[in-house]
Each structure stands twice: as structure tokens, then as C-alpha cells.
Symmetry: C2
Subunit: 424 residues, 2 copies
């Protein structure tokens, strides 16, 4: 950023240069893009010392500011973590090419030859928090798919992300592409995000990766198209026909295997018919694992446990991302589906039941990206679904839903070849 | 709308009821949805007298308000136009069902059975202007695809649209679906549109159909997902290798065959190498047809015509929708592509050239929904492309690009069937 520039001018200039750089990237062959991504991997390995030095600066500042251990761990880079990033880029190079697929080819009535072909989106913006590795993942998947990118990392990670982005831009340049194709916003000024969100016509899509606050801000303020990701208030509904042992195992897995992730279970619904037989054991197991139960009045009757608090209306909509779970007794399948469709975030929802008709109704009527029968919600993940490098998990319905990968960074175009046709 | 309600409360209540109604519609079979759409067609025919009476009221008010003839013609309903609407609904019933398509089915690594299946979006909002027939088109395509809809028509057409919507809602109810599935906002208060645009979590997509102002407002203000439609600043680029007669025929067709449509040509780019030989004849033909040429300095040299005005920077970005065209002399393919990508609206763009390499570069590098070689831009249309009932022409890149039809009113969902799987 030059001294005389405002933050807004700086972001506009970066974005325009990145958009221009998207043209040569977009017309590059698969082999050329693969080569660029491999060069990015090699460059990261070669530049590990500088990147670690930049990261050490961020770590010092973050520690001095009293940053939590969890955040410090996300921020930390090690030689192994840099190698992981590089290896991730090498794997990206091997991904099947999502660009240039012929989606349709036919002659239309007027005799025109019509081909619908997949093409890169153009300029992809990503806004994320204090994980330096996202810089490499994001830039890599964009270059792989023929898109330029403009990245905005968390303030805490500014030095690390900026060092990584420079190395990657140089690598792209060494393959004959404009280095502007990997643009990183080198300021912690919040006005930069605002500027980025307003660049309609330049930014083709904005993908926020981070907490609910960041995503909410993007959805509210952006005039550029946004793919909403991540928030998961996932439910497990235990139907009266459930196998209790299976239900308990699935709830414990979905709640406690990893708590800070969007596909973890945040809410348990139990049929009234089995509340007295199922809940005491279930609640005790949750309690013993250190999970706090936020239960309704009926649940409290069965909660002879230490970690119990009365649920408020607010609890039904919460994504705890911690060792907490809301528990509610429901009056059967209809109430369970209605409750989930009202309070859920359309991410991942599960029913545990032996009754097939109940399972099929749940699958059909619950409005979510991934709906499970008799399995843990924790499987909603690009890797588990076999999609390759996951960009995020979309909780909206347009363009991409659920785990999404490289293909979501393409759109299509109609190429129409004529011989002088005019419309009668 | 009840008297004690604010406009916002009224819209929220309508939308929530419509969303709830989307559940039974979404789980209905293809045959049930076909039946409902046919019942809507029959109901329109039966209610023609009431609809015409409501329309007569709108026409009287519009005439009294000094409405332009063009608008009055759009607003007018006749027995034939009502029959056209009904016939359109009957055709919709025949469309292949876009819901319930199995897009993927496989067993993933952990042994889960995964099916990706197309499902309705849920609640579709459409905002449009003074064409009463859009009410029937929009409601029909939504019911056909298992979606509920909430519609907001232009103020001038309030009585007509409202009469049509009531008839359609009754028809839907006669087939056992909630009548709330076809919701129409019965007020001309602008606050209603604002309320609709903010119903995130209830409205699954908002599709504005109308002028640039309406679309711009939706993109800027909506927090619900929007599919941007319509604006077309379409270019025809005449390459130095063009067949002049073909080029002239295509330009005249694209500019004058119908001027008020988004796929009409608004701007002509001509290679400098052929400017002196091509432009005089072309400009004379445009002039004789009554087209005003907004030309750059070089064009003026060849413009021995009556209808010439000097182009300003503003002209390059304009969608005239009238007998006007901007004309610019360019320095070859690179400048033409750069100009189009800068000033175009990513709708429809054409090159006229005999040189195949030039054609292929133009197809690859112009960033638009439909890119043509040697044909008129006027073909960009759902009907011409063979898509069936067109909803609009998307000028954005996510979800749907170019002409889009019923399929764009679906999303997908992962249905995952397990036998107790938990994530290791």
C-alpha cells in the first residue's frame, strides 16, 4: 500500500490487477496450471526460513497481546506445517481439471452450434481468520482452477500470510503468469474488507471462512456474490425405534470427537415415548465426558447429573462449538422435523431409527445440506465425501451446497458458433 | 393485510406461511405437482371475467395517471392474453421434472451410502413490474418445481396480479396443497420489497425481473440470495476478416429487430483496418433504419449521416433499449476483447470474422454468459436455447448463468444412509 492511497483505493487497485491477471490464467492449459501449482509448492519449501521468521514475529505479537492458546496454535507455523501446505499444493496439482468440461453440445433449432463449457469464475475473494495455511490452500485452489484470487487474512497472521502470499505470487510469475494473480491485502484495516465486499463487477465471488460474525458481516454488507459457509447447529434426533446403544455411540461421537467444528452435534432431540428409558443413560454418559447439558423441563426430570442447566429459547439456535449440548424431548417425527427446520442452520442433521419409513421421511423433509440416517453428523466433510480439496461447507442453497471443492470455483459459458444466423 | 399490522409484519407473516407450505409441495410427487399446475390453468380460464374486471380497474387508474402507451400495453389483459397464460401453465405441466434427479450415488470410504439428489429450493421470491402475466408464469414454474413462491408485482398492476394470484392459490388449494404456497403481496408500499429482501432464512432466493433500477436495488439491499437478471449491453465486434454483407445483416438484426430487449445489440466495434471500407455503408444502413449512432472521433469521419452524435465515455456502458447504438473503432482483437470485458454486462457478445483463430480467442476470452461467432446476439433466450419456460437471463456467474429455467429453482441435498457409523 502506497502512503498517499486510501485503503479503499489500495484494495480496488489490487483487485483490478488481479482481475486482469485472471484472463491469462483462465485461458491457460491444464498442464500450465498444474505446473504453476507445483511451482508454488516448491517455492514454499524453499522459502521456509523466511516464512518461519515472519511467523515468529506474529507469534511474539500475539503472545504479548495475551492471545488464547487455541488461537496461538492455529497461528503457529513449523517446518512440518509448511511441508503440509506444500504437500497440499502438490495434491491439488493432481486433481482432475474442472475447467473446460463440455457440459452440453448440440445444434439448436436455428442451426447454431451451441456448447456449454465450464470456465473459471474469474476473481475469487476469500476472507479468513488467523490460519496462515489458508493462504496457501486458497491461492492454490484458485490457480489450479484458472482463477485469480484476492485474499484477506486475519490481523494476527498478517506477517505470516503476507510472506506466504509473496512467495506464491513469485512462483506464479516464474511460470509466466502475472504475479498479481495471487493478491494479498497487506493491511489490518477493517475498511479493506468493506472495500472488497463492494467490488461488484470485479470480484466474482466472495467466500468467507471463519466464525459466524465474519460470515454474517459478509452476507449483510457484500454486494458481490457470497457463498455462505460453515455455521452448523447440527441435531441428532433419536426416534422411538432407535437402537439405544447405536444412538448413544453416535451422539457421543458427534458431540465429543471434536467440538470446535461445524459438523459437531449441538442439539439432541429425543422422542417422548423413549425419554424415560433412553435419556438417563445418555445424559449420564454425556455428563461423565464433561459435556454440559442444556435441557428442557422434561429432560431435567431424567438429568441426575452435575452438568445440567435449564435451556432457554436461545439454546435451540446455538452453535456451541464447545462441550455443551441442548436436549429437548419431542412428540415424534413431525415435531422433530419442524424443530430442526426452524432452529437448524441447514448443515447436517441425523435421525437414529430402525423404522425405515421414519428414516425416509426425515431424509425427505429435513431442509439441510446433508441428512443422515443412523450415522454421525461428523462425516460432512469434503475429504470424507471424496471431493478432494474442500473449500468450505456451504449452508446456502445456490451454486454449491454442503462440502464444496474445486468445481464450485467454475461457472459455465455458452459458446455459440454461427454461419450468419439472424433472428427471424 | 390486517389494519393493525405494519407492512413488515404482513410480509413476514405471508412469507412464513409460504415457507411452511413449501414442505408439502416439496414432498409431492411429479404427478401431484403436474395436476396442480393444470388446475391453475383451468382456474385462470374459468376466472377470466373477474381477472378482466380487475385489470380494467388497473387500466383506468393507469390511464388517468398518464401512463405511457408502452406500459399500458404491458398492463393490458385480454381474453387472448389470459388464454396465453393458461396455455403456458399447461405447457409447464409437461416439462420434465427437475426434482428428485439422482445426481450422484456411491458408497463412500466409511461405508456410508451417499446419494446427491435434486430438491426444490423452498421459498422463491420474485419481484417484477407491471406485467400481470408474470404472476401466472412465476407461480406456475414454482409449483411445477415443488417450490412455494412469494410474489411482488408492480404497483400499476396490483389489482390484476392480485386477482390472478387469488385464483391460482385457490386452484392449488383444490389439489390439497396449502393455498399459502402461492403468496402475493397485496400492497404497493415500497417497504414491502425491503421487508422481503431481508427475510434471510425464510426466502431461499430472490429473483428480480425488471429494469436495471429494480435489479440494482435488490443486489445492494438484499441479504437473501439474489439471482441477478437482465441487463444487456451487448456488443458486436466486426473483425477485419468479416464478411461485410453478413456483418451488416447481423448488426441490423441485433440492433433493430426488437429494441427493448436485453439481448439487442447496443454497441458496435469495428477494426481500424476495415473502418474506411465497412463503416460508411453500415452507418448509412443504420441511419436509414432510424438508428442514432453515438460514435467516437474516428467513426465520425465515416458518418455522413443525419442521426449522429458524439459518444461520451458514458455511452460505452449504456444499455439504450432504443434505436441508438454506440460505435467505436478498435485496434484489433485485443482491444475489442478488453473493451467488452470492461464495459459489457456479461450477457451476450458476438464477433463477426472469417478468421477461425480470432473467433476461438473471442469465444475463450470474452467474459459473458453467451458468446457468439457470426450470429446475432438476439438468440440468447430460453426458448431459442431449448430450455423450456425461461425464468430470466442471469448475468451473474453463480448457480445459473445465461438463460435459466426450471432446473435453476432446484438445489441438491446429500442423503446419507448409515448403519451406525461414527467418525474415527
Amino acid at each position: 500500500m502506497r502512503e498517499s492511497q486510501t485503503v479503499q483505493q489500495y484494495v480496488i487497485e489490487l483487485a483490478r490487477a488481479a482481475k486482469a491477471a485472471s484472463v491469462p490464467l483462465g485461458r491457460a492449459s491444464n498442464a500450465e496450471r498444474q505446473k504453476a501449482v507445483r511451482a508454488m509448492a516448491d517455492a514454499l519449501r524453499a522459502a521456509a526460513p523466511q516464512i518461519l521468521a515472519a511467523n515468529a514475529e506474529d507469534m511474539r505479537a500475539a503472545e504479548a497481546a495475551g492471545t488464547s492458546e487455541g488461537l496461538l496454535d492455529r497461528l503457529l507455523l513449523t517446518p512440518e506445517r509448511i511441508e503440509d501446505m506444500a504437500a497440499g499444493l502438490d495434491r491439488l496439482a493432481e486433481l482432475p481439471d474442472p475447467v473446460g468440461r463440455v457440459l452440453e453440445h448440440r445444434t439448436i433449432d436455428c442451426g447454431l452450434d451451441l456448447t456449454r463449457v465450464s470456465v473459471p469464475l474469474g476473481l475469487v475473494a476469500m476472507v479468513y481468520e488467523a490460519r496462515p495455511n489458508v493462504t496457501a490452500d486458497a491461492a492454490g485452489i484458485c490457480v489450479r482452477t484458472g482463477n485469480a484470487c484476492i485474499l484477506r487474512g486475519g490481523s494476527l497472521a498478517l506477517n505470516s500470510c503476507s510472506a506466504i502470499a509473496r512467495v506464491l505470487a513469485d512462483a506464479v510469475a516464474s511460470c509466466g503468469f502475472p504475479r498479481e494473480a495471487v493478491a494479498f491485502i497487506e493491511t489490518t484495516d477493517r475498511a479493506a474488507t468493506a472495500a472488497l465486499m463492494g467490488l461488484r463487477g470485479t470480484v466474482d465471488v466472495l467466500i468467507p471462512r471463519g466464525g459466524a460474525g465474519l460470515i454474517e458481516r459478509c452476507v449483510r454488507e457484500a454486494t458481490v456474490p457470497v457463498i455462505e459457509t460453515g455455521t452448523g447447529n447440527c441435531h441428532i434426533y433419536v426416534h422411538e425405534t432407535a437402537d439405544f446403544a447405536q444412538a448413544r455411540a453416535i451422539v457421543m461421537n458427534a458431540k465429543t470427537q471434536r467440538v470446535g467444528v461445524c459438523n459437531a452435534c449441538e442439539s439432541l432431540l429425543v422422542d417422548r415415548a423413549i425419554a424415560a428409558s433412553f435419556l438417563p443413560g445418555m445424559l449420564t454418559e454425556l455428563d461423565q465426558a464433561g459435556v454440559t447439558v442444556h435441557g428442557d423441563d422434561e429432560t431435567r426430570q431424567y438429568a441426575d447429573i452435575i452438568n445440567f442447566v435449564d435451556a432457554t429459547e436461545d439454546d435451540w439456535g446455538r452453535e456451541y462449538l464447545s462441550m455443551d449440548i441442548s436436549v429437548k424431548v419431542v412428540d415424534g417425527l413431525d415435531e422433530a422435523i419442524a424443530h430442526i427446520n426452524r432452529y437448524g442452520t441447514h448443515h447436517s442433521e441425523a435421525i437414529i431409527a430402525r423404522d425405515e419409513a421414519a428414516c425416509e421421511r426425515f431424509l425427505a423433509e429435513v431442509d439441510a445440506a446433508a441428512v443422515y440416517t443412523n450415522a454421525s453428523t461428523r462425516f460432512t466433510d469434503g475429504g470424507e465425501f471424496g471431493l478432494g480439496a474442500e473449500i468450505g461447507i456451504s449452508t446456502q442453497k445456490l451454486h454449491a451446497r454442503g462440502p464444496f471443492a474445486a468445481e464450485a470455483l467454475t461457472t459455465y459459458k455458452y459458446e455459440i458458433r454461427g454461419t450468419g444466423q439472424v433472428r427471424p
